[in-house]
């Protein structure tokens, strides 16, 4: 907090004027588009456009469709697997970076964040190259004589989608959790050790309660971005790994039924908000409120 009592500050309109281009830009190209597609979800379909009258028909189509329910289940499980795996792998990495890395800290942090800059599409492509029927993994194992026939389950499955999503989001969550470990001094861990806590108890009683809040928000972040993804499932998911995002995209690009696409998108958003509320509530129930870090 800055001390501003010393001298009355001149109130000026300057700072507000400086933010105006950004405010106008976001209202025009972020808020207005959002409102537009929200309104479209209540309209009647024209091909690649909408028309009057206002109706809830799109929502009835979306909620009544058996296919959508299957896709929603796919999205849910993929999001859950991807987010759980990402967080479970990030926690020990963040721990190592904070407490055990020593002089390796900066180089490893650089290496991990460096992969953030490998294009999203390139990663999807890389996994397709690896997991394909005639892919690197299958042909590699064959030339080593470990398998005779290519493993078919690798590509075009929920497994392939999940592994690519973990690959995409891992660097982000490592960064977030590493930042979360920042204020927790190593003295706290040593104290727990001196009091007789083993490695497992140090994790469950000291570390996890302290990083639960940021870990939960990272979990929701990965879940939402995974469940709403439309590119990874299209290229790696095959027929049983397809997800809701692909359906939204197809309604807007291929079939041109915009109200149904918009209604589906809004239903997804509502589910995400609900998930966020549930996670917050769950944290509250187990006693993690605003976490006070001890240094």
């Amino acid at each position: 907090m800055r001390d501003v009592t010393a001298r009355p500050r001149r109130v000026s309109l300057g700072p507000i004027a400086l933010t105006l281009p950004a405010v106008v830009g976001l209202l025009l190209f972020f808020v207005a588009p959002f409102v537009t597609f929200a309104v479209y979800s209540f309209m009647t379909s024209g091909l690649f456009d909408v028309s009057q009258p206002f109706t809830t028909a799109a929502y009835e189509t979306v909620l009544g469709s058996e296919v959508n329910r299957t896709l929603a289940r796919n999205s849910f499980w993929t999001g859950l697997f991807a987010a759980s795996a990402t967080i479970a792998i990030s926690l020990p990495i963040a721990f190592w970076l904070r407490y055990a890395a020593g002089r390796w800290q900066v180089p490893v942090l650089f290496l991990i964040t460096g992969t953030l800059f490998a294009s999203y599409l390139v990663r999807i492509y890389a996994w397709r190259t690896i997991l394909g029927r005639r892919g690197v993994l299958n042909t590699g194992l064959e030339s080593l004589g470990l398998i005779d026939n290519p493993l078919e389950f690798l590509l075009y499955s929920r497994f392939a989608v999940t592994i690519a999503l973990v690959h995409i989001f891992l660097p982000y969550t490592v960064l977030v959790l590493y930042a979360a470990f920042g204020p927790i001094g190593s003295g706290l861990l040593e104290a727990a050790q001196d009091l007789g806590a083993g490695a497992v108890r140090r994790w469950t009683r000291v570390i996890l309660p302290l990083v639960a809040a940021p870990a939960a928000s990272a979990f929701v972040f990965v879940f939402v971005l995974s469940a709403a993804d439309y590119v990874t499932p299209e290229f790696l998911g095959g027929s049983n790994g397809i997800m809701l995002g692909v359906r939204v995209k197809e309604n807007f690009i291929a079939t041109g039924d915009w109200p149904v696409g918009a209604a589906l998108a809004l239903a997804m958003l509502a589910a995400f908000v609900l998930l966020y509320a549930l996670v917050t509530l769950a944290l509250h129930l187990v006693g993690v409120r605003r976490v006070r870090f001890v240094t």
Binding site: P15, L18, D49, I112, T115, S119, L225
Partner: protein, 276 residues
């Protein structure tokens, strides 16, 4: 200061495996970009740069590359101007205006690209705006702005406002204060944030897909090759794309480290107690 290193063989092993998991797939793409044959499978048949020659001389690649550069330059320079103004304003607006402004500014971070994409598509259609590189640039501005603001805002937020006030009291105009007092302290991070904006824009696909029109950017080019049959030139384009964004990341990292050092020096030089 005591530097206690915890010994933790388990987490160390996870780090090693994670690095392999992160890098092996990317290394394979790079490796096969130099493959002598078109096959994307083992055994590896020797090195060649033929795919590079093929890609670099292809018109399709060149026009996509040009489009990507145009959009990324426009988006990152636009963000530099609008974002610096917004960040500067945000740190100096009255307290009660700040939370709603910050909420609006960071809102785009919370919405997956799919929703931003279909929103812009609906909105541009409603306004009768033809999809073009201009609409792509607008979409990218919305996308990179909050990331730029995160870095620029942090840089401007930790400045000592007393320095600016002293300059003002000594008769400097706001413009002069900005260029002679504020900018010298924050420019390395602004350069870093601009590079980040460039890299994000250069790589953007999820939103671009909905607003692109007849042109093609590099990610769009990769996407369309992904839909075709196995094409070894994707490895080359992917490798080039990674090399460019990695270079920008190195620049960002270097400028961030530089700004950290500069800040530490300033702190050490300052009389204790003044900057507490």
């Amino acid at each position: 200061m005591r530097t206690d290193r915890q010994r933790s063989p388990f987490t160390g092993a996870v780090v090693l495996l994670a690095l392999l998991f992160l890098y092996v797939p990317l290394a394979i793409v790079v490796l096969f970009s130099f493959h002598a044959t078109g096959a994307l499978s083992f055994p590896f048949d020797g090195f060649s740069t033929r795919w590079y020659r093929e890609v670099l001389t292809s018109d399709e690649f060149r026009s996509a590359f040009r489009a990507s550069i145009i959009v990324a330059v426009a988006a990152s320079v636009g963000t530099l101007v609008i974002g610096t103004m917004a960040a500067y304003g945000l740190t100096r607006v009255p307290q009660r205006v700040r939370p709603p402004l910050a909420f609006l500014f960071f809102l785009p971070l919370t919405l997956p690209g799919l929703f931003v994409g279909i929103g812009l598509l609906s909105w541009f259609t409603k306004l009768d705006v033809q999809a073009s590189l201009t609409t792509v640039t607008i979409a990218h501005l919305v996308y990179v702005f909050p990331y730029f603001l995160l870095i620029a805002g942090a840089a401007l937020d930790r400045l000592d406002i007393a320095l600016e006030e002293s300059a003002q009291d000594l008769g400097a105009s706001p413009w002069l204060v900005f260029w002679r007092v504020t900018m010298p302290q924050v420019w390395p991070l602004l350069v870093g944030a601009t590079c980040l904006a460039f890299a994000l824009s250069f790589d953007e696909f999820v939103i671009t897909f909905f607003v692109i029109g007849p042109d093609s950017t590099l990610p769009m080019f990769i996407w369309s090759s992904l839909r075709r049959t196995v094409d070894p030139s994707i490895n080359v384009i992917s490798t080039l794309l990674m090399a460019i964004t990695l270079l920008l990341w190195v620049v960002t990292f270097a400028f961030t480290v530089r700004s950290e050092r500069q800040r530490r020096r300033t702190r050490e030089a300052a009389t204790p107690g003044v900057l507490a």
